[in-house]
């Protein structure tokens, strides 16, 4: 994904050489990128066009530093570390250069902060306050450029705000491998625009909004929705497909406003990127949720619904228990599946369970998005203890009349109309789900569940990586996490099952499910306010 020249540490252990920055000695990797090294050391430096995931072009000239024996200031992003290097990061000339570059950048920048979405996480704003405190020196009108260009179905471009750092151009060309953006014209008339005949509609286009240091590129769904400093960020995992990209859920007062990759680049799964489809999965959290339990189409209380389910299961337990079907979900957490499996195997003594998963499709690509739209197929499979059957098996068992009771956890079970009709005719058909669907409509008892951004738990990615979901918002009024509803049902039918929290479930699960023994619950990460020290820009 990232170009080779920025990832020296991936190959062999680099040779460390001594360098001096501002009179202090450091051990730095020979041939490494000086700017990246300075950033890693936490030194104060400014830059716009450099990004660790993109090629180095040194167009912004904001990272100029002084080098001993160099006649001019050099851009740190384009300087390879050599032994004995002496870098000046705070001398008069360097500070002046930073001020002057910012002055140039601001010459034609529109006075848009009050209406710009990026305000509050804008790198230009931050650099001005840190390095450039001089007032404006121009006294004639600024250059005007196209102001609200809909360059793609999801992105709006404001050419006046663009500082021509070319991060977006390089991203589309190098990472998305679909060069839809170019910088046209010259001098102070340069504009960012789409390549001739193209739109910015690549499935990874919204990453350009993330990496744009100013508010030139904005996400249409997020535009003017909320000010960023009012948001809090919670680390979690995208539930759009089996890849499991690390994300930050940006929310305020129980409403999610956007999903973005985490502030600091992670090395393993998605680095600094996400696909556009994944970014918009937050919309499902608010759209059309099941909020109250239902018994035969009528709203009911939880107590009543759990009682109804328990009564049905108790009756089933008196007869042939193998006629009870339990369906694990490929879209619910490991903890949810674990409790369901415990109930199915350890208490009801069922011979097998089924897997409710959306069929593998063709929407995947060779970058991030996977063909499997289920976020936790791997986890559900692990909890199935090797006795997992598919939805086709379930359809067949229903058609052959082998089941009298069916308990479905999760939304994704795929059954055709006929099978659903058969399921509706069973003695008990329970579905724990989040959204209305054909499946939910046919169910006798519906228990409303919490979604991924409302629950604490873990899911397993396609590579077997167990990642932690953190609750960012509260579920709608009467939704409960799947594992909690299952525990309550289990206790009602006489099973001794005591879990005080999802973490307790995780601890128990770790000891029993082999693929999960190495997994960690992760440390406590409370929501981070996107303001003051927590801002992203």
């Amino acid at each position: 994904m990232a170009t080779e020249q920025n990832k020296t540490e991936e190959n062999k252990a680099p040779e460390m050489v001594p360098i001096v920055i501002d009179g202090r000695e450091y051990e730095a990797p020979r041939g490494g990128n000086l700017l990246q090294f300075m950033i890693d050391q936490g030194l104060e430096i400014s830059y716009f066009c450099y990004h660790p995931g993109l090629s180095v072009v040194a167009v912004c000239r904001q990272c100029l530093v002084g080098l001993k024996n160099a006649p001019k200031l050099v851009p740190a992003c384009q300087t390879a570390i050599g032994p004995g290097m002496q870098v000046d990061n705070s001398g008069h000339k360097v500070l002046d250069a930073r001020r002057q570059m910012l002055e140039f950048t601001l010459v034609n920048h529109p006075v848009d902060c009050p209406i710009c979405d990026k305000a509050g996480e804008c790198i230009l704003q931050r650099h001005y306050m840190d390095w450039d405190h001089q007032p404006s020196k121009i006294d004639h009108p600024k250059v005007r450029k196209p102001k609200r260009v809909e360059i793609g179905p999801r992105i709006v471009l404001d050419d006046e705000r663009c500082i021509l750092c070319s991060r977006c151009v390089r991203f589309m060309a190098e990472v998305a491998r679909d060069p839809q953006l170019v910088i046209a014209k010259r001098g102070n008339r340069s504009v960012l625009t789409t390549a001739p005949g193209k739109q910015l509609d690549n499935p990874y286009s919204l990453n350009t909004v993330d990496i744009c240091p100013v508010g030139a590129l904005t996400d249409r769904a997020f535009r003017f929705q909320i000010r960023v400093w009012e948001l809090s960020a919670t680390r979690s995992v995208c539930n759009g497909c089996a890849t499991g990209c690390q994300v930050e859920v940006h929310h305020r007062r129980n409403r999610v406003y956007r999903l973005v990759p985490p502030r600091y680049r992670n090395r393993d799964i998605n680095e600094s990127w996400m696909c556009d489809y994944g970014r918009y999965t937050y919309k499902a959290l608010d759209a059309d949720r099941l909020t109250l339990p239902r018994i035969k189409g009528q709203d009911a209380g939880w107590d009543e619904a759990v009682g109804h389910v328990a009564a049905g299961l108790k009756k089933a337990m008196e007869g042939d228990r193998s006629r009870i079907g339990v369906v694990l979900g490929a879209d619910v957490t490991n903890e949810d599946n674990f409790v369901a499996a415990r109930l199915a195997f350890d208490f009801l003594d069922l011979p097998h369970v089924y897997l409710g998963a959306e069929p593998v499709g063709t929407a995947g690509d060779d970058f991030l998005r996977d063909n499997d739209p289920n976020p936790n197929r791997a986890g559900a499979t692990a909890c199935g203890r090797g006795k997992l059957r598919s939805d086709e098996d379930l359809a067949r068992d229903l058609a052959e009349g082998k089941l009298t009771h069916l308990y479905v956890v999760g939304d994704r079970l795929h059954l055709d109309q006929e099978s659903l009709g058969q399921a509706a005719g069973l003695d008990l058909f329970v579905v724990q789900a989040t959204h209305p669907s054909a499946l939910v409509e046919k169910a006798q008892v519906v228990l409303p569940a919490a979604m991924w951004a409302e629950a604490n738990g873990t899911i397993t990615s396609r590579d077997g990586k167990v990642q932690r979901l953190r609750a960012a918002v509260e579920p709608p009024a009467f939704c409960r996490p799947h594992w909690l509803a299952l525990v309550q049902v289990a206790q009602r039918i006489g099973m001794t099952l005591e879990f005080a929290s999802p973490e307790a479930v995780f601890v128990a699960m770790q000891q029993e499910i082999e693929p999960l023994t190495g997994a960690r619950w992760g440390r406590r990460m409370p929501p981070r306010l996107l303001r003051y020290a927590g801002s992203r820009g």
Binding site: P114, G120, L124, R126, M129, Q134, P135, S136
Partner: protein, 396 residues
């Protein structure tokens, strides 16, 4: 309830004074156990006006806290503003320009007079003398007219800024202020004539609630209450700040530590404040009223709306807040009730880790149980009044 008193067992009567009581101003609850009219045991409950100042301050930028400081000691809000601004300036390591310091002293002393006048009104009215209350309210309103001229509001000024004051004195302020001082003095003289040698007043105030100097210090008392007990500690003299070292004034000290002394100290302090105001108005130099530091002071509006540089400056100062260095300071000034301290802890971001107000009348209230025990019920009101407890400051 029974107890032994002078060797006899007696039934004690439980009487609740407050919190809903005309004289328990600021809202205070006194739980009195009476033997007849004498108070055998008293319990003071505060907190009815607790509004979470510190918690709010932790969620706001440094410069956004000023309106909250207005509502601490709400009879002399300017003094709270000044105290807080001084604390943040100490943290930043900057000093307000000279003219701003003079203005701060002037408005601060006007607020102090207003505080003491309000005390006079409450003290006298709650003991039954209604007339002084009206005289005082008249005078206080004149003072508030002055403060409204300079800040825009009669009570919730938020006039002081980090780095100076919000705007300069209006045209003719000095003349109007100087013309007002004799009229205020006239009211003080009238008060003095009515109350200070009044037989009933003396009977109710002299030798009541005597607090020794040692006790006063142990209770952390400062301000007029401490000076009434004979301890000569006034922050303006002991640790001069702003331009108080250029002012010629005296601090009145009491001798007995009774209610009368605390009353007399405040009476005299008003006169001294008037001296300070007239000196400051004469001496005030021309000059800027805000420091010239882009990272502390907001830019001018014309520039903010028209240039991107000032727009960014304004924007980041408001959204991210002023960013003092990491560290902690304790800054103190002489407010109406004594040493008003601000203990600020900063971690380098735009909002406080801790913003503690050291409330002078909290210490005063702590001693009330001890002060009224052994006295009569009728002594509660004069004693409580001399503490000059302001609910906004005591409970925050």
């Amino acid at each position: 309830m029974t107890t032994t008193h002078d060797g006899e067992t007696q039934d004690l009567t439980l009487v609740n004074m407050g919190p809903s009581h005309p004289a328990m101003h600021g809202t205070i609850h006194l739980k009195l156990q009476l033997a007849g009219e004498r108070i055998e045991h008293a319990e003071v409950n505060i907190g009815y006006l607790h509004r979470g100042f510190e918690k709010e301050a932790e969620a706001h930028c440094w410069q956004q806290i000023f309106p909250y400081t207005d509502r601490l000691n709400y009879v002399s809000p300017m003094l709270n503003n000044v105290g807080y601004a001084m604390a943040v300036e100490k943290l930043l390591g900057v000093t307000a320009p000279e003219r701003a310091q003079y203005i701060r002293v002037i408005v601060g002393e006007i607020a102090r007079i207003s505080d003491h006048l309000t005390y006079m009104a409450a003290q006298t009215m709650e003991m039954g003398a209604f007339t002084p209350y009206f005289y005082v309210m008249k005078g206080r309103d004149w003072l508030w007219d002055l403060l409204e001229e300079i800040s825009g509001a009669r009570l919730t000024h938020s006039y002081v800024r980090i780095g100076g004051v919000a705007w300069d004195m209006p045209e003719g302020f000095k003349d109007r202020a100087l013309a007002l001082l004799p009229r205020i003095d006239q009211i003080v003289v009238e008060l003095d004539k009515l109350m200070t040698r009044n037989r009933i007043f003396l009977d109710r105030m002299q030798d009541i609630a005597v607090v020794s100097a040692e006790d006063a210090v142990s209770y952390g008392w400062t301000g007029p209450c401490l000076r009434g007990s004979g301890v000569a500690y006034d922050v303006r003299k002991a640790h001069p700040y702003l331009i108080y070292d250029r002012m010629d004034f005296e601090i009145p000290i009491g001798t007995d530590g009774d209610n009368m002394d605390r009353y007399m100290v405040r009476m005299e302090e008003m006169r001294q404040s008037m001296r300070i105001i007239s000196q400051a108005l004469e001496q005030i130099p021309p000059g800027p009223i805000l420091i010239d530091d882009k990272l502390v002071v907001l830019p001018k509006k014309a520039a903010t709306y028209n240039t991107i540089e000032e727009m960014i400056n304004h924007f980041k100062l408001v959204i991210d807040g002023i960013r003092p260095p990491r560290g902690e300071v304790y800054s103190y000034s002489e407010a109406g009730n004594g040493e008003l301290g601000f203990y600020l802890v900063s971690d380098g971001t735009g909002r406080p880790v801790k913003c503690r107000v050291r409330p002078p009348c909290f210490m005063g209230m702590a001693a009330v149980e001890h002060m009224i025990t052994g006295h009569m019920v009728a002594d509660v009101i004069p004693t409580f009044d001399t503490i000059n407890m302001i609910g906004g400051e005591c409970d925050r």
